[in-house]
């Protein structure tokens, strides 16, 4: 269970408050989607969970552990990040995934780390790419490798920041399916931001709407209504149902 309570953050003293007591909770193995306008603080929220930023106040509990009180290394073994802009150096796919094990091995990778990485590459069908230079691969492949690297951290919680931002529709599906598999099969909790509301409806279990630095609405699919979307995004939409699946249509500025 992920439990975020009253998280507050601003970038520097005197700067505007980006998070003003954001709270949310998400059960283990579920997929939570954070929705909100550009600049509403989604990435900032994630960076606070991940220890990249330090919140002014608040609590982040994963199970019974307060993530904010852990050392970087301890935190890295519980929570992993798939960022929006994915960079690797000119490393092989194998070494890039092995990087995810740094919090376990520290200075020198051991045999068990190699075995763990080989297993992940096999599971994700990346074995054939193992010795390729990551920088030569396509956007979709790199995204998959970033997920594999996050998997190598053996996390309980994975945070995706706009995982489909730079991908075509086929790769979008590939990445979302891969992420869903992790939640369902490995019981990993996933927290992600997504711009596309339809994709979000299709992918997520729980939805969190971020506005003015707080989670203003939270709930399952039934909480994604034209009224909520209107309040958060300032647009008018309609929601239709086709073959039992909800689809958001339209989008005129109110």
């Amino acid at each position: 269970m992920l439990n975020i309570q009253n998280l507050s953050f601003r970038y520097s003293p005197g700067a505007p408050q980006v998070l003003q007591g954001a709270s949310l909770s998400l059960e283990r193995g579920r997929i939570g989607i954070v929705l909100g306008k550009n600049g509403s603080g989604k990435t900032t929220l994630f960076k606070n969970l991940l220890g990249i930023h330090r919140p002014q106040s608040g609590k982040v509990e994963l199970g019974k552990t307060n993530l904010l009180k852990l050392s970087r290394k301890e935190r890295a073994r519980r929570i992993a990040y798939v960022p929006q802009d994915i960079h690797f150096g000119a490393l092989t796919v194998f070494d890039s995934v092995l990087l995810g094990r740094v919090s376990y091995f520290g200075l020198r990778s051991g045999k068990e780390d190699y075995i763990a990485v080989e297993k992940i590459l096999q599971d994700m069908g990346l074995e054939a790419l193992a010795l390729r230079n990551v920088e030569e691969l396509s956007g979709g492949e790199r995204q998959k490798i970033a997920i594999a690297r996050a998997m190598a951290q053996e996390p309980q919680l994975m945070v995706f920041d706009e995982p489909t931002g730079n991908l075509d529709i086929a790769n979008e599906q590939l990445i979302l399916t891969e992420a869903k598999k992790l939640a369902r099969e490995k019981n990993i909790t996933i927290l992600s931001s997504l711009h596309d509301l339809n994709q979000a409806l299709h992918f997520g279990d729980r939805f969190f709407f971020l506005k003015n630095g707080v989670i203003k609405y939270a709930g399952d699919q039934s909480c994604v209504t034209p009224e909520v979307i209107r309040d958060v995004f300032d647009i008018d939409v309609r929601i239709a149902e086709i073959d039992g699946e909800r689809i958001i249509l339209g989008g005129t500025r109110k």
């Binding site: 991940l50 990249i52 890295a76 073994r77 960022p83 960079h87 150096g89 990087l99 200075l107």
Partner: protein, 355 residues
């Protein structure tokens, strides 16, 4: 073949590269001991090495050539690896030992000692008559080192106050570096002709100033730093993924960056203080290494060390061999020799397929 088996095969290639480079460095070391501007034969050199040559030959080999070769090995390795580490930790391909203005500060310190206090130039001879004979030969080196250290601490201290972002480091390094350069110009403007020429000659890199003592001091700094760099190879690999991502992988990026910058700058400070400015090694060697072998620091750290030594040995041998009796400054040779090769590598069509 499984990924693991392929990986082992690749690792064998890396070890072969390192072994070949090591052999080349050893071979070049031997060549350097046997080659020089005095026309000694190989036999005479061997005799001198065994300690049974003439007094003059013994002195040339043991007091001139060997300390000089050791200086080339140590400073080449140090300058090259510190360039590599600065490029990674500052995420800037142009970063090199001069990025933080370390060399400029050292040059100012040396100029102040030579022009301002007329001291410390005795070890290189030539202009000694113009200066107080009683001056301590280490005074100039000590001044150069002190100013380089002050400059490093100033920049790192400033950056610690604010966020330690790579751009802040590079920009403040350039700014402070240009202050030192300007101060040097002012100093040189008021210098006497003799002082000015002594100061300018000092700033040319010259391995001939090395003694066993200075080699030992450089070795201590370079060796300690190299151990630190090697131990942190994986952390540098993580930093390649970006600062934020590296932090989420459990790496204390700020701490690693601060210590790395400090050590890399100390290497530069100590090398420049004893040998003068030897430019470009910290840019050429790491870039050629990365272009050919990828960016895995478990490989690039040792390869940069070896290629740095090799480049400086080559440059030094050339500087001693071109025109008998006159020694061109080794700093000029490294650039003359390295820059065209460097440009060729950068423009080569073959993209890096290996890593």
């Amino acid at each position: 073949m499984t990924a693991l088996a392929e990986l082992q095969k690749r690792n064998r290639i890396y070890w072969t590269v390192i072994a070949v480079l090591l052999a080349a460095v050893l071979a070049m070391t031997i060549v350097c001991i046997f080659a020089g501007s005095s026309s000694m034969t190989v036999g005479q050199c061997l005799q001198a090495l065994a300690g049974v040559g003439t007094d003059a030959h013994n002195r040339i080999v043991w007091n001139i050539r060997i300390p000089r070769v050791l200086a080339a090995l140590i400073a080449g390795a140090g300058l090259s690896v510190s360039g590599l580490i600065m490029q990674t930790t500052l995420n800037n391909a142009m970063a090199s030992p001069s990025t933080l203005g370390v060399s400029n500060a050292a040059v100012f310190g040396a100029n102040l000692s030579i022009i301002g206090f007329a001291g410390g130039f005795l070890s290189t001879g030539g202009n000694a008559a113009n200066f107080a004979l009683g001056a301590n030969p280490y005074a100039t080196s000590v001044m150069a080192f002190l100013f380089a250290t002050v400059s490093v601490l100033l920049i790192l201290g400033l950056c610690r106050l604010r966020s330690f972002s790579p751009n802040v480091v590079v920009l403040s390094g350039m700014a402070i570096g240009s202050v030192w350069t300007a101060a040097t110009t002012v100093l040189q403007f008021y210098a006497t002709d003799a002082g000015l020429s002594a100061a300018v000659i000092w700033s040319f890199g010259d391995l001939g100033r090395a003694t066993y003592k200075t080699d030992l001091i450089m070795l201590a700094v370079v060796a300690c730093s190299t151990v630190f760099f090697l131990l942190n190879s994986w952390k540098y690999n993580a930093i390649l993924s970006g600062e934020a991502t590296a932090k989420t992988m459990g790496v204390d990026v700020d701490r690693v960056r601060f210590l790395s910058m400090l050590l890399a700058s100390m290497i530069t400070a100590v090398c420049v203080a004893f040998l003068g400015v030897i430019g470009f090694v910290g840019i050429i060697c790491p870039h050629v290494t990365k272009k050919l072998l990828g960016q895995d620091h478990r490989v690039t750290v040792p390869v940069s060390i070896l290629s740095g030594s090799l480049l400086l040995l080559l440059a030094d041998t050339l500087s001693r061999s071109i025109g008998s009796g006159t020694k061109l400054p080794v700093g000029a040779i490294t650039s003359l020799l390295g820059a065209p090769f460097f440009v060729a590598i950068i423009f080569s069509r073959k993209e890096n397929r290996r890593c």
